[in-house]
Symmetry: C2
Subunit: 79 residues, 2 copies
């Protein structure tokens, strides 16, 4: 079982990488792009057995994401 985890900065949390990208885009010819938010995308392979969704949820809370400033979502992809 493969898991794909999407981690984003929470609404209202300053995202300096997003601000930097948003400022750089017009100079490259991309006008009018707004709301740039930069997060993390993590792929991992889970061992068989057990409740995969519960495991990934725990991994996110304990290690992959910082729940104080980040939201996370994930999907499980059977192989």
């Amino acid at each position: 079982m493969k898991a794909k985890v999407y981690i984003t900065p929470k609404e209202g949390i300053l995202d300096p990488q997003g601000v930097a990208i948003e400022r750089a885009l017009p100079a490259l010819g991309f006008k009018g792009v707004t709301g740039v938010r930069v997060g993390k995308y993590i792929e991992l392979d889970l061992p068989g057995g057990g409740d995969a969704a519960a495991e990934v949820d725990k991994m996110c809370k304990k290690l992959l994401a910082n729940p104080i400033i980040e939201d996370f979502q994930f999907e499980l992809v059977p192989e």
Copy 2:
């Protein structure tokens, strides 16, 4: 139009963040997790008009991803 961009290290490129996570998981009670790869997840709002897919493709190649060591995929979500 919203774009969601997924950037991953190319196959064979060393991913130190992924290695660090993979080594940390067993100590937290998650056994047998392999193939951890850490990339970036970027959300942005595009202005209307023009060929959104072509624009985002160009943004990825010019700024968001490093095509030498990273792959990217994106999806467009109408609002």
